[in-house]
């Protein structure tokens, strides 16, 4: 048993070592994506592929959590053939990488084990985004990739340094296949130096406290994190909770890709089964085996125990099943560039399921992905190709205690800048930013409103520029919870003359749309989903929102039933408007019907009257409101049934609706028609 003071001092030393790794990499990296963008993460791990420590706040969960898979891949391949002085590289998504640009360096250290022989000890790992890893386009990531081979060099776990001797041949081969060779080698050496510094710290710690004490501290920190997580899970209502969330695809009609999550809360453990998720696709929205568990962990941690350290102990109570060949565990050669989008979708699905065990103590949904926007073309001044790249944030969801936040990085991701300074952009690129504003009325209505998205207008000043976008939630907006409304969807459009154009049939997936001089690219990001019934929002809060311009007067009336006249709130009219709005809601009995399963997306059958009231036809998308959790999105398969609304028994489970003929509120979401 380790004493509590030594334990705390060693914990501090671990976290401090990780922070020192960050500082060292920033100081020595060659590419600006590392030393300015800080798109990398550092971690200490142990021989059992457990995460020992990360620096909470700067390291990206989506880099860090998958490192355990990378390490397991190394162990699987090399077994006991790992020696002091060895260094391994890995980026292959199918064995635990993220996308090919994120390259992990694993730097094993050894120390005597209980038997006396050397065993793997605590050691550093760095995962860093390399600016280019080869592939079909500069920067390697492309929304047009149909196979992973177009996304760059795949590095399965390989040994690049053997007992202190670099394998020059393999390094030459790697660097020869990447653009910007000098930068790549510089970054590689910076990673190596970072691991070396961390190794000195770990060795000093072992010398000071003894190897056995450090190992005991690792075990104790894991056990404590595990115990905290188990205690938090134990407080949940046991049961099996099911939910599904969707990614957008299709050309003429929205045909969704689904992530289905079956979350079993039993005693002090959670099991998540993603069986039933869509088969892998030939587009970028696929991930390897590590990303979905990363999303699961993010949600469970956020809603159960956000304050604890991040180490593998906290994962022990979680198990995740990701069937092979699906978008959540794709096999070669599916491209994996859209890994962020899939991770978000897993998170939405797991949150929707877990909401049922949390009695709705969740938050409105988020922007659904990276919102990657590229404007590129020949620079009129130099003739070189310029790429103006931003990934603007949206609003966060409302929650029980407060409104969501406006246009900000979400709580699932690291804290990075997503829009560049206008005064820098206009010097560097042939564009002019004409507007940067909050999107009025974009926050999902609710007792607690979702945060607002932003609008950014970019005027094109040069010939030959093109627009590419990779985003989600551009058709299906971020959902509200517990009766809250959806936030506005992401929107990426082009204004030409007086006309506004959709640059692609499927919104959010734009590949090299040709722009003309004078075009304005209008980027509008999603608002967060609302929380709770908007008609119960305090009138003062709605009035304050209108005064601030977060909500328009029209929006106050239509979304919140608050009538604001010249001289303030019209109390009588507000009461009447709220009553009328309640009466207008489409509330119908929901019945169970067999044979309504389909491959992707829930199916719903409506009768003609209900369909008319909702204003939807077959192929349209509706949401069934869940007053204690996330709403279920469903595709109208058929209009003209006997029952007002019928769904499969599985869909009823997703809504946690027990019994028959429960009355639910249904809202229209989208016509389902694209282009």
């Amino acid at each position: 048993m380790i004493d509590p003071i030594t334990l705390e001092v060693i914990r501090e030393a671990f976290v401090s070592t990780v922070r020192e790794m960050r500082v060292t990499l920033v100081r020595t990296a060659y590419s600006s994506v590392l030393y300015e963008g800080e798109d990398f993460s550092c971690v200490l791990m142990d021989g059992r592929a457990q995460l020992v420590a990360m620096s909470k706040g700067h390291d990206h969960p989506l880099h860090i959590v998958p490192i355990a898979w990378s390490m397991r891949a190394v162990r699987e391949k090399f077994g006991e053939d790992i020696h002091p002085g060895d260094v391994f590289l890995h980026n292959d998504p199918y064995t635990g990488g993220t996308h090919l640009n994120d390259v992990a360096m694993i730097y094993p250290l050894f120390a005597p084990g209980p038997e006396g022989a050397d065993e793997l000890f605590v050691f550093p790992v760095v995962r860093a985004h390399w600016g280019d890893v080869g592939g079909m386009s500069a920067g390697s990531l492309s929304g047009n990739a149909t196979e992973i081979f177009q996304e760059g060099v795949r590095i399965p776990p390989i040994r690049v340094v053997e007992r202190g001797r670099p394998n020059v041949a393999v390094l030459d081969l790697i660097f020869a296949n990447m653009r910007g060779q000098r930068e790549r080698e510089g970054d590689f050496n910076a990673m190596l130096g970072t691991c070396r510094k961390a190794a000195e710290r770990v060795e000093a710690l072992a010398a000071r406290y003894g190897v056995a004490t450090v190992r005991a501290a690792v075990a104790e920190l894991m056990d404590r994190a595990e115990a905290r997580m188990r205690a938090a899970i134990g407080a949940l209502r046991p049961g099996e909770y099911v939910y599904e969330a969707h990614l957008e695809s299709g050309r003429e009609r929205l045909t969704p890709l689904s992530v289905r999550a079956r979350v079993t809360v039993g005693g002090d453990a959670i099991a998540v089964d993603l069986t039933g998720s869509s088969p892998q696709t030939a587009g970028p929205t696929n991930v390897g085996p590590a990303m979905a568990p990363t999303g699961v962990f993010t949600i469970v941690k956020a809603f159960l125990d956000p304050g604890a350290d991040v180490n593998s102990g906290a994962f022990r109570p979680l198990s995740v099943i990701t069937p092979r060949g699906t978008i959540v565990n794709a096999e070669a050669p599916a491209p994996c560039g859209g890994m962020v989008e899939v991770k978000y979708c897993v998170e939405s699905a797991v949150m929707g399921a877990l909401a049922q065990a949390l009695d709705g103590r969740v938050a409105g949904d988020l922007k659904g992905g990276g919102n990657h926007c590229y404007v590129g073309g020949p620079h009129p001044r130099t003739g070189e190709t310029f790429i103006f790249y931003e990934y603007p944030a949206g609003g966060t969801g409302g929650f029980d205690a407060d409104d969501g936040s406006n246009a900000v990085r979400t709580w699932t991701e690291s804290d990075m800048t997503t829009v560049q300074p206008i005064e820098a952009v206009e010097q560097l690129y042939p564009v002019r930013i004409e507007r940067l504003a909050l999107r009025e009325d974009s926050g999902g209505p609710g007792r607690r409103r979702g945060g607002l998205g932003l609008a950014r207008e970019v005027r094109i000043l040069s010939e030959g520029a093109r627009l590419s976008v990779l985003a989600e939630k551009a058709v299906l907006p971020p959902f509200g919870v517990c009766g809250g409304g959806a936030g506005a969807a992401n929107r990426f459009r082009v204004r030409r003359g007086g006309v506004t154009l959709e640059p692609s049939p499927l919104p959010g997936k734009v590949g090299s749309f040709p722009l003309e001089v004078g075009d304005v690219v209008v980027i509008e990001t999603s608002g967060g989903g609302g929380f709770g019934d908007p008609l119960t929002r305090e009138v003062e809060r709605v009035v304050a929102d209108v005064a601030e311009g977060y909500v328009s007067i029209a929006g106050a009336a239509s979304d919140y039933g608050v009538v604001i006249a010249q001289d303030g709130v019209d109390t009588g009219a507000t009461r009447r408007a709220r009553d009328a709005a309640r009466a207008r809601r489409v509330r119908v009995p929901l019945t169970a019907a067999e044979r309504l399963e389909r491959g992707a997306g829930r199916a719903i059958r409506l009768d003609a009257e209900t369909a008319t009231r909702l204003g939807v036809t077959a192929g349209g998308i509706v949401e069934i409101v869940n007053p204690r959790g996330a709403p279920l999105r469903a595709w109208v398969v058929d209009v003209g049934g006997d029952a007002a609304a019928a769904v499969s028994p599985m869909a009823l489970r997703m809504l946690s609706v027990a019994g028959r003929d429960v009355e639910v509120e249904i809202r229209a979401v989208h016509s389902g028609v694209l282009g």
Partner: protein, 677 residues
């Protein structure tokens, strides 16, 4: 005649005065009065028995601006900005800027200017400063109608690209003054003439936000001092370590932000220069937090970008790293039963349990009392009596909740160890960040709790030398006495360095003339002025830049070579073939003030009078019978061998076994580890 330095802290206001003729230094502490800082200033002088009329120069550090932002008690600000961009101040760079990873219930702090108080004017400049859309006069009048209707108490004028061409901002400012001459107006081009609009706007809005408070505070202070017979100007310390006149502090109050720890760093530089210690780390531990700063070759690390709360501030600042661990930091048990120290602090009220003011939770100070490191015979700061039983009870209660396996002394030592571990990390990180090994530096320890933990900290980091300067408890206030007036100016011109050389001379000329005029107005003849030029440079393609000092007349080859060298030092590599880009030209102008002569340390033979008493003090789980030295009585050349305690007004130095200290001719204590015998 006296020069007085007053440092307002969270708990105490430290007052230091030096007799300009004899060099004699007198110090005291009075309780801080958070909403009436001026009263504490006068109370301090009275406590020292100094008549205001006998003060020749009064220098002070104030937290008025810092606290106004942190506690959101500033003025009602209106913003006038370019059409299409009123939300820029709220959207910023979309960063949370608060710890919120995995926290779905986080709420992003709103800017200090409400959305309904932001008004747009029709105008637009291009990226080269030329006019794309002329300023529309009607839109200005409409915006000002809004500003006045809103009942604004201060106005920030923030237009895109104004750093290159302030004309439109000036017109808006003049129009505002035309309608309401008394309304303070901050233009972004005046507050921070640098590019990157969000950081510039944020700084300007915060400047406007604190302006009315600072103005009122300074007016009150000046009136009270005048009534008491003090007839000279009041100087205020800025975050970059230099002094400002009240005129500057009123115009640019944002430059006083986070200036609290600056005096200590300045004083450490004076002491370091005097005793030949040129590279050191300052370790300033107070009641609620600890400030550390790396000083290399007598040049403190500086930065141009800081944050206050969740908001960026662009102003030249000493790069001081703050750790939320001080004497008042509370030891507590987390839900997983792990022992934590801080960041919550008992502060001044209720304070540590040992203060007997109602505090029940054990703090770092209580742990030191339990260990005998803080004695109960001497009153803390001359006024607070130490209650050993209360301190023991608080620590014992925590030990009980931990299962009772640890003795009270063992837990107390553990609390100190954990606090020291936090500070060890901070010092290692700031050193590595600047490319240094902390073991090559001396630790200069001050602040109420600094000398108490400095040697333990030095052991952890591996620092071989520690300097505990004279008057460590009033060190920061002392630093104010000898600081020069400092003006920071900057111009942004982004482009290849070699192409921008032509405009550089003109930019420096412009800044030089303005600085000289300003210093002359403040009474500094040309021989009391010192101007320092530097450039912010980067390689093409980088987004951030390095500050490279340059001489008055320097060739471009030398500048580039210096930049490559500095890039190598900072980042470990350089690219001698890379194209170097200019971003900013900076000028720092100093007005050199008379430095008070150092008080000679009393030289006399070591006497027993310095040995106050003996008491048991715990180190490494065992009590040692320790001598307790009275620092004021220690003679020049005297040595102190650990284990020992050195007590003085405002601070206690703890000397663990294995360390020895010597008093130098200035009265500083130099510690080194004794060679193991």
């Amino acid at each position: 005649m006296f020069i007085a330095g007053i440092d307002v802290g969270g708990t105490f206001t430290d007052v230091t005065a030096v007799d300009a003729t004899t060099g004699r230094v007198v110090v005291t502490k009075v309780p801080s009065q958070p909403r009436a800082e001026g009263a504490a200033v006068l109370a301090g002088l009275t406590a020292l028995g100094i008549a205001s009329a006998d003060v020749r120069r009064l220098v002070h550090g104030t937290t008025v601006a810092t606290n106004a932002v942190l506690e959101r008690r500033g003025a009602r600000v209106a913003l006038v900005t370019t059409a299409g961009f009123r939300d820029l101040i709220e959207i910023g760079r979309t960063k949370r800027n608060i710890p919120a990873l995995f926290v779905p219930t986080f709420v992003r702090p709103k800017p200090v200017v409400e959305r309904k108080h932001r008004f747009e004017v029709v105008e637009r400049l291009a990226a080269d400063g030329s006019v794309l859309v002329p300023l529309d006069a009607t839109s200005v009048e409409r915006a000002l109608d809004g500003v006045l209707d809103a009942g604004a108490e201060a106005v920030a004028v923030c237009l895109l690209h104004a750093y290159l061409n302030p004309a439109h901002e000036r017109v808006v400012a003049d129009a505002t003054k035309g309608r309401r001459p008394d309304l303070p107006v901050s233009c972004s081009a005046d507050v921070v003439p640098e590019y990157r609009e969000f950081e510039r706007f944020s700084t300007t809005v915060l400047n406007a936000y604190v302006q009315p408070l600072m103005d009122r505070y300074l007016s009150d202070l000046e009136a009270q001092l005048l009534a008491a017979g003090y007839e000279h100007g009041v100087l205020t310390v800025g975050g970059s370590g230099g002094m400002m006149t009240t005129d500057t502090a009123r115009r640019l109050p944002i430059r006083t932000i986070l200036s609290g720890p600056a005096g200590g760093v300045s004083q450490a530089c004076f002491v370091g220069a005097a005793v030949g210690v040129r590279s050191f780390i300052t370790y300033d531990m107070g009641g609620t937090s600890t400030d550390v700063c790396l000083v290399h070759e007598l040049a403190p690390a500086t930065t141009a970008d800081t944050m206050i709360g969740a908001f960026p501030v662009k102003a030249a600042q000493l790069d001081i790293h703050t750790v939320g661990a001080g004497g008042g930091s509370i030891a507590w048990l987390d839900v997983d039963a792990s022992l934590q120290v801080g960041p919550r602090s008992a502060g001044a009220s209720p304070g540590p349990a040992a203060y007997g003011l109602g505090g029940r939770e054990p703090t770092v100070t209580d742990a030191n009392v339990v260990l005998g490191r803080i004695g109960s015979a001497r009153r803390l700061g001359g006024r607070i009596e130490i209650d050993l039983a209360a301190a023991r009870a608080a620590v014992a209660d925590l030990a009980g909740r931990m299962g009772g396996e640890l003795s009270v002394e063992a837990l107390a030592e553990g609390i100190v160890t954990i606090a020291v571990a936090r500070m060890t990390s901070a010092i290692r990180e700031i050193s590595i960040q600047r490319g240094h090994d902390p073991r090559d530096f001396t630790l200069i320890a001050f602040g109420g709790a600094g000398p108490m933990h400095a040697l333990a900290l030095a052991d952890e980091i591996g620092v071989p030398r520690v300097l505990v300067p004279r008057h460590p408890g009033n060190f920061s206030a002392l630093g104010l006495l000898a600081s020069d007036i400092k003006h920071d100016d900057v111009r942004t011109r982004v482009g290849p360095l070699r192409e921008q050389l032509g405009v550089l001379d003109a930019l420096f000329e412009e800044m030089t003339i303005a600085a000289q005029r300003q210093l002359e107005l403040e009474g500094f003849a040309p021989d009391r002025q010192r101007l320092v030029r530097s450039l912010d440079l980067r390689y093409r393609g980088q987004a951030f830049e390095l500050n490279v000092p340059i001489g008055a007349v320097v060739g471009v080859d030398t500048i580039e070579a210096d930049f490559h060298r500095q890039h190598r030092t900072t980042y470990g590599h350089a690219n001698p073939d890379g194209a170097v880009e200019l971003v900013n030209a900076r000028l720092v102008a100093y007005g050199i003030v008379d430095k008070p002569a150092g008080e000679p340390h009393r030289r006399r033979a070591a006497s027993d009078s310095a040995l106050g008493s003996r008491r048991p003090v715990w180190f490494g789980g065992a009590p040692y019978d320790c001598p307790v030295w009275d620092r004021e009585q220690l003679a020049d050349g005297a040595t102190v061998d650990g284990p020992a305690i050195v007590e003085e007004f405002g601070a206690t130095t703890v000397v663990p076994p294995g360390w020895s200290g010597t008093i130098d001719e200035h009265g500083n204590l130099h510690f080194a580890r004794r060679p193991r015998s």
